[in-house]
């Protein structure tokens, strides 16, 4: 019977569930939002160059289109196949972190970058996705009894702490914290008891002064500057002050496109990367800021929707992790721009100039879309 064969809850048994079918099942509203954000990025980068498509906007557009193709391609890949390569991906990620530590380029006082075949790679961005995949695989078949067993949880904590430690070594405080938080969120989604998180949080609060002692000078400087931005007007705090001036001078409707004085007069260093949001806020005002904020949250919300739709634990946890990653990017970047948390070198995904973060985020979105496309596949009773 054809109708039963085509029953939507079991599409994969139907040979007609081919690429075209999968392609249609992609969340196109999500893709539209991603493209809109990339358009916002193009607009902002065009302005950052003083009203020119070079050197930022066009280059970024090309990267985005390549990444978009990559994302749609990954969306076609069976989520079960992705689940199978979760651990090798994690291993690759750890390997790359080690490589970058040994041979990587030094940028802004930290070894974060490496070049593979002409493409700049920041392994710390990739490992956030690979960690999500690995943890999702680890908790895929976990029963509540196992979840309550401390010996089952410890390896997972180890899986999180290994990359976190390596990223801290780079050093990159912001990404390390984000990585740890992603890991924690995935574990929360997997069903680990609340009180265990409370315990870890308590330990961290107690250990914080000790950790502060081991921070790099620049990391301490950031924290100190954050406490009192006025104390060092041309140092690290300068960025926060100028950033807030850019936001505040935007007002409700903005100073007009290409007419933001803070942006056009180069008061903000690296405005095309970490502080790209200030361009939008200054030139399009509060209305523009809120619109972008709404777009960003729609991505987060749709990732969560995919998680809720997924019939399998692996998909739920991956979607949760990818969504959380994107959310944390936005949160850290926007808070940093508004001077709420110390400056951390975290870009605004899809909008900031730079290929590494964009590629990593779009890879994650590819996996997310794969979850969405394959939200009701049946996993064999296996573990990874």
């Amino acid at each position: 019977m054809i109708p039963e064969k085509l029953a939507p809850q079991r599409p994969f048994r139907d040979p007609s569930f081919g690429l075209v079918r999968k392609f249609v099942r992609i969340n196109w509203l999500f893709v539209l939002c991603v493209c809109l954000l990339a358009g916002v990025g193009y607009t902002a980068l065009y302005s950052a160059a003083g009203g020119a498509p070079v050197p930022y906007a066009n280059g970024q557009l090309v990267r985005f289109l390549v990444a978009l193709g990559l994302m749609l391609g990954i969306a076609m890949v069976d989520i079960r196949l992705i689940a199978k390569i979760s651990w090798p991906a994690y291993a690759l990620g750890i390997f790359l972190l080690l490589v970058v530590m040994k041979f990587g380029h030094t940028g802004l006082g930290a070894k974060r970058w490496m070049t593979v075949g002409g493409v700049e790679i920041q392994p710390s961005e990739l490992i956030k996705l690979f960690l999500t995949l690995a943890l999702a695989a680890y908790f895929h078949r976990a029963t509540q009894e196992r979840l309550n067993h401390i010996l089952f949880l410890l390896p997972a904590v180890g899986v999180i702490l290994l990359p976190v430690g390596l990223i801290l070594k780079e050093p990159n405080l912001g990404t390390a914290v984000i990585t740890a938080l992603i890991g924690a969120t995935v574990m929360l989604g997997a069903g680990v008891r609340w009180w265990k998180f409370a315990l870890v949080l308590g330990v961290l609060v107690v250990a914080a002064p000790l950790l502060y002692h081991h921070l790099h000078d620049y990391q301490r400087a950031r924290i100190i500057t954050f406490m009192n931005p006025g104390s060092d007007p041309l140092g690290a705090g300068y960025n926060i002050i100028q950033s807030k001036i850019a936001l505040g001078s935007g007002g409700f409707t903005g100073q007009g496109y290409l007419h933001g004085t803070q942006n056009q007069l180069n008061f903000l260093p690296e405005k095309q990367t970490d502080f790209v949001f200030t361009i939008i806020a200054e030139e399009f005002g509060f209305l523009g800021s809120i619109a972008v904020l709404g777009l960003l949250f729609s991505i987060v919300a749709m990732a969560l929707y995919t998680a809720l739709c997924s019939a399998h634990v692996y998909g739920r946890l991956v979607a949760l992790g990818v969504g959380t990653n994107f959310f944390l990017y936005c949160f850290v970047n926007l808070s940093m721009v508004m001077g709420l948390i110390p400056v951390g070198g975290v870009p605004l995904p899809l909008i900031s100039y730079g290929g590494s973060a964009l590629t990593a985020v779009m890879l994650g979105f590819g996996v997310l879309m794969s979850v969405h496309v394959h939200r009701d596949v049946e996993f064999a009773n296996e573990e990874f």
Partner: protein
């Protein structure tokens, strides 16, 4: 299956909880954005404005001062100055040390620089040294690599091509003091100057102009990104003085190193054609800074080089006061041109004997002879007849002892005593004081400007007022036309009688100034000599009768001469005072002769282009 559903709903609860938390955080971010962008917009908009737009006022170019023919008397010249922008120096102190090694500066200047550097942002230039000379420039040029942040730029300073010759009439400028700068922000601009004396001070408002501004957008390093707006401001207006630079130069030359002053007027308008003082000073020093030794020298100089004696130097008029006495007497009816009075060489009032000049008896004479030979005894008697107050009334009519409304600061009205004045000062007015008033001695103190005005009024019968400004911004000023002045309230016949006497002074062999008569065809000068005692001379000095040059300089009488020409159609009036120059005929009248000759041959009065169309006299 059941467990799976249970797990799924547990996950959904947690996922929704996480989603809600994320939404809450986004909401908080939106709230903070609202706070920054809408609530605090005003504050940050202002900060952004300060960040980017810097407005700099630029000092306007000070207006020129020219003579009536356009010869520049005060101009602007470029000079070089060194500025320091410490933001461009990696090690500002090292740069300063290098600079001081190349261009040594006094300690107080170094202290000022240190203060300026400490109180200004790094991209606001601080003046290191003004008026760089060529060795300084060369040294800085060669050592540029050691001096990052040091900039040599051009500035404007005031130049006075005639130097000391016009120091008093044109005046000088200086930097505004702290009080002035606080009262008017424009005066705090670097490079701006205010007039302190002379025409520079009197016409300061016209000369100063309106400041311009440059608005620039700067980036965080203070580097100018682009110029937003530029306004050149309004340069100061050109002020054309009534002076004739050629006449002035001759006056300066003739005074030479004698102390004294010369004022020459257009007799029909009161325009000042020459105003010379000696000694004088270099007016440019006040812009550059007066060296302490120079200042001390000026202060110690008995000839007082800083004083504009022409308008504020007070001298007893001596016999130049006699025409005033004669006019007062004729007006009172006590004297007519034909009244005969007798001179026996002396005049006795009570137990005091007043001598005539040289103790010579002039015999029975009338007014014109009394003026011609400058008989003192004649005027002793006339003074007693007319009285002190009527002499003062006539003096005031003629511009003596009264405010002349001179368009220049520090002009003194001088003093012609009245009984009221004596009473207010608690002075007992003896008749003897009236007697010596008849020959311009005693309390009377007048400026050369007042004497020149007096003789101009006597010459023309017009109540002209002295003034030095002819045009401001090309606009002819009131008083430049003879019709601007009212007629004098003096009987023309009386004036004619006095002028007759003054003619004989210069043009008859018996006249006191016969030696200084004009040698031009068909033109005669009329005038009056004066020799005024500067204090009560001792008997020994009187014995020397001022002829002996062994007398101390400061004890010698002042020499004066007032005159006008041509006699039958007066155009020029002059007053010459040579301090301690002995006889007026001897030292003052020859100066008047030379200047009058120049004036009559070049005829500057009423002209804006020189006679014959020749260009103005080039500065020496």
């Amino acid at each position: 299956m059941k467990r799976e559903t249970k797990d799924r709903s547990a996950f959904n609860r947690r996922a929704l909880l996480i989603g809600t938390a994320q939404l809450g955080i986004f909401g908080a971010i939106a709230g903070k954005l609202y706070n920054l962008q809408v609530s605090q917009h005003g504050k940050y908009a202002l900060l952004a404005e300060q960040n980017s737009i810097s407005e700099r006022l630029e000092a306007p170019i000070r207006g020129l001062i020219t003579d009536r023919f356009g010869t520049i008397l005060a101009g602007n010249q470029q000079h070089w100055r060194a500025l320091f922008m410490q933001a461009l120096a990696p090690d500002p102190q090292a740069v300063l040390d290098n600079f001081y090694r190349l261009v040594p500066l006094p300690d107080d200047e170094k202290a000022r620089i240190a203060t300026d550097l400490a109180h200004r942002p790094g991209y606001i230039p601080v003046l290191l040294k003004d008026f760089l000379d060529w060795p300084d420039m060369a040294a800085l040029e060669v050592n540029t690599p050691d001096l990052p942040g040091v900039v040599v730029e051009v500035g404007a300073s005031r130049s006075y091509p005639f130097g000391p010759g016009l120091a008093h009439a044109v005046g000088y400028v200086a930097r505004p003091n702290a009080r002035e700068a606080a009262a008017d922000p424009v005066l705090s601009l670097p490079g701006i100057r205010v007039g302190r004396t002379g025409a520079e001070a009197a016409q300061d408002a016209a000369l100063r102009g309106m400041p311009g501004f440059v608005q620039t957008e700067t980036n965080v390093h203070g580097e100018v990104v682009r110029q937003v707006a530029h306004d050149d401001g309004t340069p100061g207006q050109t002020v054309a003085l009534a002076l004739d630079a050629g006449l002035q130069a001759l006056a300066v030359q003739r005074l030479a190193d004698q102390a004294g002053a010369v004022v020459m007027l257009d007799a029909n308008t009161g325009e000042i054609l020459a105003m010379a003082n000696s000694p004088a000073f270099d007016p440019e020093l006040f812009d550059k800074g007066v060296p302490a030794a120079t200042w001390a020298g000026w202060m110690a100089d008995a000839k007082d080089p800083l004083q504009n004696k022409a308008i504020s130097g007070l001298f007893a008029p001596g016999s130049t006061f006699k025409p005033t006495v004669a006019l007062a007497a004729m007006k009172s009816g006590a004297l007519t041109p034909d009244t005969v009075l007798t001179c026996i060489g002396s005049f006795t009032l009570g137990d005091h004997v007043f001598w005539c000049d040289n103790h010579v008896a002039h015999g029975s004479i009338t007014l014109h002879t009394a003026l011609q030979v400058s008989c003192d005894v004649f005027f002793y008697q006339v003074a007693l007849m007319v009285g002190i107050d009527r002499m003062a009334d006539m003096a005031a009519q003629l511009g003596l002892g009264t405010d002349l409304g001179m368009d220049m600061p520090d002009a003194s009205p001088g003093l012609v005593p009245t009984l009221d004045w004596a009473r207010s000062r608690g002075i007992h007015w003896a008749e003897g004081s009236t007697v010596v008033q008849g020959i311009g001695q005693g309390y009377t103190q007048l400026t050369p400007l007042a004497l020149a005005t007096m003789i101009a009024r006597v010459a023309t019968g017009s109540a002209v007022g002295p003034h030095i400004t002819r045009r401001i911004g090309g606009q002819l000023q009131d008083g430049s036309d003879p019709g601007d002045w009212p007629a004098l309230d003096v009987d023309p016949d009386h004036l004619a009688a006095v002028r007759q006497g003054l003619f004989e002074v210069v043009n008859t062999p018996a006249g006191t100034a016969y030696a200084s008569r004009l040698t031009l065809p068909n033109v005669q000068m009329a005038g009056k000599t004066g020799t005024a005692q500067v204090h009560n001379n001792t008997a020994a000095e009187k014995q020397k009768n001022f002829n002996d040059l062994t007398m101390a300089w400061e004890d010698r009488p002042n020499a004066l001469f007032v005159g006008f020409a041509p006699y039958d159609n007066p155009r020029y009036a002059i007053a010459v005072v040579i301090e301690h120059g002995n006889f007026g005929a001897q030292s003052a009248a020859p100066v008047a002769h030379d200047l009058m000759t120049y004036a009559l041959t070049h005829d500057p009065a009423g002209r804006d282009t020189p006679l014959g169309g020749a260009a103005g006299v080039a500065p020496s």
